[in-house]
């Protein structure tokens, strides 16, 4: 009965994932064999090439998938147009994220020379002087991308679990690698890891319960068992199925950052290095929503009226709570990264609005929204990575080279005042991204919100769409607040009223990988103990931080431009992408 039958493997259909993961593995070998000087260039070419290759493979597969669903490895992984579309979105956004990760405006990338060194230690200082670089971030990001591509394309719950870990584990590590504000970065990784591991344990227990219920971890079989067509001895125990579905959903909702499982989002998004935050905010969310749609829609086929009602109640509650928390708590934020984190929570709520519809209209709306949200958010985080603090020393030139003067990102909102005068083009792009997030017409966000709320109304969930509209209106308030601040408020350092509060506790060794702690030096000193304080938190009374914007066409600036073009194109001529999305939704049950 348990004879082993080798599965038929369709290598062509697996090629996008193989290319990305293969590039990651080669990247690990590059770390071992390529001399340090050439490593960064090699890694960059390899990862960008790998992602481009995956994109080409997805393009080649697109037509054949439209005509019939490809079974890839036995029945555990079938490539549907929806799965392929999510893979495409993830790969495009990962490609752009990779450019932001590679950005070195200001002379240094965003990653610590050696992430393992204790912040402020002599070892770290030596590593910085030696010019070490953590080029492992490229393969790590590739592995994470590979996991995301698998996450959204599988029917098998255990592969879902493995993919969840493959995408999460590199992200935990990447969160801890920031060059500046390393205490915050490590803390972000710590929180992300503990909460992420906890929810993945819940998820796998849910999978175990579903396996017990249906005798299989294959979604269509579970759906059959739910509909009463299975032959499992435990098929009568509906409580197993309901508990299992809830636990699996908890894991997926955690990954998309929906309330009440959102609490990690603001902390992790704030603490992680900004390029990684952009990558997490965009790609993880796309992949996790892909998986959520797949799981819910497959299992939804087997729901009876009562179960369907229960799942609806769950989704309604989560969607309303997510939108409310994302918009209302977002209003009072003073840190730009934290604010964008709450904005991304709110967007997760908007996508959930479409999910309650359970039909093809909803699926295509989700696809379009993920792309629109992804472009705007990624562009916004790329802009954040370019707005920096600069130390203006009294004796100019004594500090050494130019790049030693550029510090970390100026994330406090007060520091963003008057940015429009310093960098008009970058500010214009940022305003565009904010307007798109708010859903103003002629931007991608408007079409996305229209599609999402339209799907909900189409399915009769108009109260939810109405709440979504109100939430968008509230969120418009805090987006406009930033726009006013950037464009119409004069900069505080121009006005001459001294250092903005956030610039006060600047790290001791200029531009070193120390801690520029925005909440004052004392906060860092206390958990550090006596040992590391002097180097890490020593304030320099003679220096003051001014906000400066990295100009020039670095990779991050290119990403900002590409995202801005994408947002406008999707807003003005959305029909071709909407058609693609509608085609991609066709074969999802």
């Amino acid at each position: 009965m348990n004879d082993f039958v080798p599965p038929h493997i369709d290598w062509a259909a697996l090629s996008p994932i193989i290319v990305v993961l293969g590039a990651g593995i080669v990247g690990v070998l590059v770390e071992a064999f390529v001399p340090a000087r050439a490593r960064r260039t090699t890694q960059l070419v390899l990862s960008l090439g790998g992602l481009l290759g995956a994109l080409v493979a997805i393009g080649l597969l697109w037509d054949s998938v439209q005509s019939n669903v490809i079974l890839v490895v036995g029945d555990s992984f079938d490539l549907t147009p929806f799965g392929l579309a999510i893979q495409g979105i993830v790969v495009v956004l990962a490609f752009l994220s990779m450019l932001v990760i590679a950005d070195r405006s200001g002379g240094q990338d965003a990653f610590a020379p050696t992430a393992a060194a204790v912040p402020g230690s002599r070892y770290e200082e030596e590593a910085r002087r030696a010019g070490l670089q953590q080029t492992e971030v490229f393969p790590l990001a590739l592995f994470s991308t590979g996991g995301m591509m698998l996450f959204a394309a599988t029917d098998d719950l255990i592969i879902l679990f493995v993919a969840l870990e493959v995408l999460s584990l590199p992200l935990y590590v990447l969160s801890a690698t920031a060059r500046r504000r390393r205490l915050l970065s490590q803390e972000a990784a710590f929180k992300y890891f503990l909460l992420g591991a906890f929810t993945s344990a819940l998820t796998v227990f849910g999978i175990a319960l579903l396996y017990g219920f249906a005798g299989s971890v294959h979604l269509p079989v579970i759906a059959d068992a739910l509909a009463g067509r299975g032959d499992s001895p435990l098929a009568g125990l509906h409580v197993l199925a309901v508990a299992g579905i809830v636990l699996v959903c908890v894991g997926l909702l955690f990954k998309v950052g929906a309330a009440p499982f959102h609490t990690w989002t603001p902390d992790v998004y704030t603490g992680a290095p900004t390029p990684i935050t952009g990558f997490m905010a965009v790609c993880t969310k796309a992949a996790a929503f892909g998986a959520l749609v797949r799981v819910l829609f497959y299992l939804g086929q087997g729901f009876d009226a009562a179960t369907r009602h229960e799942v609806h109640v769950l989704l309604w509650t989560v969607a309303i709570a997510t939108m409310a928390i994302g918009t209302i708590v977002g209003v009072v934020q003073t840190d730009i990264k934290r604010l964008l984190a709450y904005s991304s929570i709110a967007h997760a709520g908007f996508v959930l609005v479409a999910l309650v519809a359970f039909d093809e209209v909803a699926t295509s709306a989700v696809l379009f929204y993920l792309l629109a949200y992804g472009l705007a958010t990624l562009g916004a985080f790329a802009v954040v990575s370019l707005v920096r603090e600069r130390i203006a020393t009294d004796d100019a030139g004594a500090g050494g080279t130019r790049d030693s003067l550029i510090l970390g990102e100026a994330t406090h909102l007060a520091q963003w005042a008057g940015l429009g005068r310093k960098a008009p083009w970058l500010t214009a792009a940022f305003v565009l991204f904010l307007l798109s997030m708010a859903g103003v017409p002629l931007t991608a966000g408007f079409v996305g919100k229209f599609a999402v709320f339209g799907a909900a109304i189409h399915a009769g969930a108009w109260p939810l769409a109405l709440i979504g509209g109100v939430a968008s209106a509230i969120s418009l308030f805090y987006y406009v607040r930033i726009i006013v601040l950037m464009v119409f408020t004069p900069a505080s350092d121009e006005a001459g009223d001294g250092v903005p509060a956030a610039g006060a506790g600047v790290a001791g060794p200029l531009g070193a990988a120390g801690v520029a702690e925005p909440r004052g030096a004392a906060d860092v000193a206390e958990p550090l103990g006596a040992a590391g304080v002097a180097t890490v938190t020593q304030a320099r009374p003679a220096t003051r931080a001014v906000v400066t914007v990295m100009t020039g066409w670095g990779p991050a600036a290119v990403v900002v431009a590409l995202c801005a073009i994408g947002v406008v194109l999707l807003g003005v001529v959305p029909s071709w992408v909407l058609d693609l999305a509608a085609g991609a939704a066709k074969f999802v049950p």
Partner: protein, 99 residues
């Protein structure tokens, strides 16, 4: 002894693990709670495999073990890094971001 007893044991172990995660303050202990949850899941998988009479569940237990091992590597690395920086592995001390 009825096979379902093993399921009850798995549920109890899982609850103990979850309670540990939510109540204990030391990151290492919290992490041990997570491991206990994963191993309770393994017990559930194997028991269900016995009930259904197929091997899938036993294979799944191997998958979970491998993933748990990978998680230990990353998790302990992060906890040790935090400990080396702050001389404390308490989850209450890690609060710079929430102020």
């Amino acid at each position: 002894m009825a096979v379902t007893n093993y399921l009850i044991l798995a549920a109890i172990l899982f609850s103990i693990g979850a309670t540990t995660v939510l109540l204990r303050r030391n990151a290492i202990i919290v992490f041990m709670g997570i491991e206990l949850m994963l191993n309770a899941t393994n017990l559930a998988f194997v028991t269900f495999a016995r009930i259904h009479g197929d091997l899938t569940g036993q294979v799944l237990a191997f998958f979970v073990m491998v993933v748990a091992a990978a998680e230990v590597v990353v998790g302990l690395a992060i906890i040790v890094t935090i400990f080396r920086t702050r001389r404390s592995a308490s989850v209450d001390d890690v609060n710079l971001l929430s102020r």
